[in-house]
Symmetry: C2
DNA sequence: GAGTGGTCTAGACCACGCC
DNA sequence: GCGTGGTCTAGACCACTCA
């Protein structure tokens, strides 16, 4: 029952009560909530108020509605631990791939190349790639899947003069990945800079990743530099936040290092 | 006007139209939207439908409502670029501090120590600190502010036997930061592991960070290891996503794989 | 006091899943 | 066919801001 003296709106009280039941496992993952009509009766509020409370919980990713059946406590999807530490490792024959990372988490990782060609560089990419905003760059767009579900949109951008005429500009799998292909072009890698943002998915991203509106995504930019500190690749990835944990390993020295990192 | 043949619900059509106007700068940041009554008339929908569309946009962080005045396009708050070295928390001149990081972004960074003492270790912390779940550990809790606004909750945990009797267990500022204090106890740092998640703020976090419900936060865990690979510190930080960009710099020595990480 | 956003109601209709 | 979640309406009230 709702407390009319509580300063919080009724729908927030309903949401808070249900949230407590979920967190206390009184409503365990996968369990069906009482029907909206039952909730109306229990809390003595109108249908609209119940719906609004449920909408709040849906926005928080706690429950999912399935019309015709009921509203269910969301099963926590298993997440993939995406480590970047392998980049610092030396020589090895088998490099971690999306497939192997997913297998480590007990899932099936696949990918699909959706576009290879040239495109006008988004300003964030152009800045980091050291080209004029809007100028044409080479782009490879991929979608990554976990157990058949799209979880990641990964776009890689390259300076046109660097990769022109190479296999990178053509569709199809690159043996050893794009980085190996760049090395065959004479590129010597030095280091990379990651920038990570988190935000709500745009409607376009939500549609392509099969997400509810309001879902949280990582927005990740990786700029890779060669031995001359020239940026040779910018990767821009959108990752569903509930299926990825990002991980970095970094040295800690007693004496301060100079410069960032 | 709403298209009744469009399969999308009316409130989503209204939201999409307003979203387009915002992204096209027809409604620039800071500008006041038409009043809800005007929107009702323009789209020929009921008040509730307009409210639901606005609620959707609020959830996306695109607009903010101020009762009594209007609904405004949200000014994009300036974000702080948080390099990975920051969390090492030195206060010496060479280590980046919260104050210096904020100053680099043109803002005032302050912090407040909210609690120093012992607490039962949350399971995620206990795991990483190598102690039994629920056992007592030493904790230092801080809140970080940008221009007076709380933007970060940072809790640092230490094994009890390691820091017992040291200044770390007592309130007050630590000259040189906790890292220097640990070094004075004989700790030799080796490396650290960061784990980054992104999710919606819990109601408690939202209240402490003055966030709207549904706001996105980073959930960051840093485990620092000494030369013997013993975990000596676990930092758990909640950061408002729209005011932080996280950054890492990592060396690349050979061809990595196809994934973004 | 007028206008504003925010909340709530009571009732209706629809598409869908299941029996 | 019935129960389900999801959507929508028309109207009401409240707290707040600002002139």
């Amino acid at each position: 029952m709702i407390n009319r003296n509580d300063p919080r709106p009724a729908y927030q009280q309903v949401a808070a009560t249900l949230r407590d039941r979920i967190h206390s496992d009184e409503l365990a993952p996968g369990v069906k909530l009482p029907s909206t009509q039952e909730l109306e009766a229990e809390f003595a509020v109108s249908p609209t108020t119940v719906q609004r409370a449920l909408q709040t919980l849906k926005g928080e990713g706690l429950v999912v509605g399935r019309v015709g059946t009921g509203v269910y406590v969301r099963e926590q999807p298993r997440a993939v631990l995406l480590a970047s530490t392998y980049l610092t490792q030396g020589e090895g024959e088998a490099w971690p791939t999306w497939t192997s990372v997913a297998r480590d988490a007990g899932m099936a990782g696949t990918q699909e190349v959706t576009q290879v060609g040239t495109a006008s560089a988004p300003s964030a990419v152009a800045n980091r790639l050291g080209v004029d905003g809007g100028s044409e760059v080479v782009v490879r767009r991929r979608t990554m899947f976990l157990d058949g579900q799209p979880v990641q949109l990964a776009d890689s951008y390259y300076p046109r003069d660097l990769v022109e005429g190479s296999p990178i500009t053509r569709p199809g799998r690159l043996p050893g990945g794009t980085q190996a292909a760049l090395e065959r072009l004479g590129v010597r890698f030095k280091d990379a800079e990651d920038e990570v943002r988190a935000r709500v998915a745009t409607p376009d991203e939500a549609a392509r990743l099969h997400l509810a509106t309001g879902a949280v995504v990582f927005d990740l930019l990786r700029t890779t530099f060669d031995a001359n500190d020239r940026p040779v690749e910018v990767q821009h990835a959108i990752l569903t936040a509930d299926r990825h944990i990002l991980s970095w390993r970094l040295p800690v020295t007693a004496a301060p290092t100079s410069g960032p990192m």
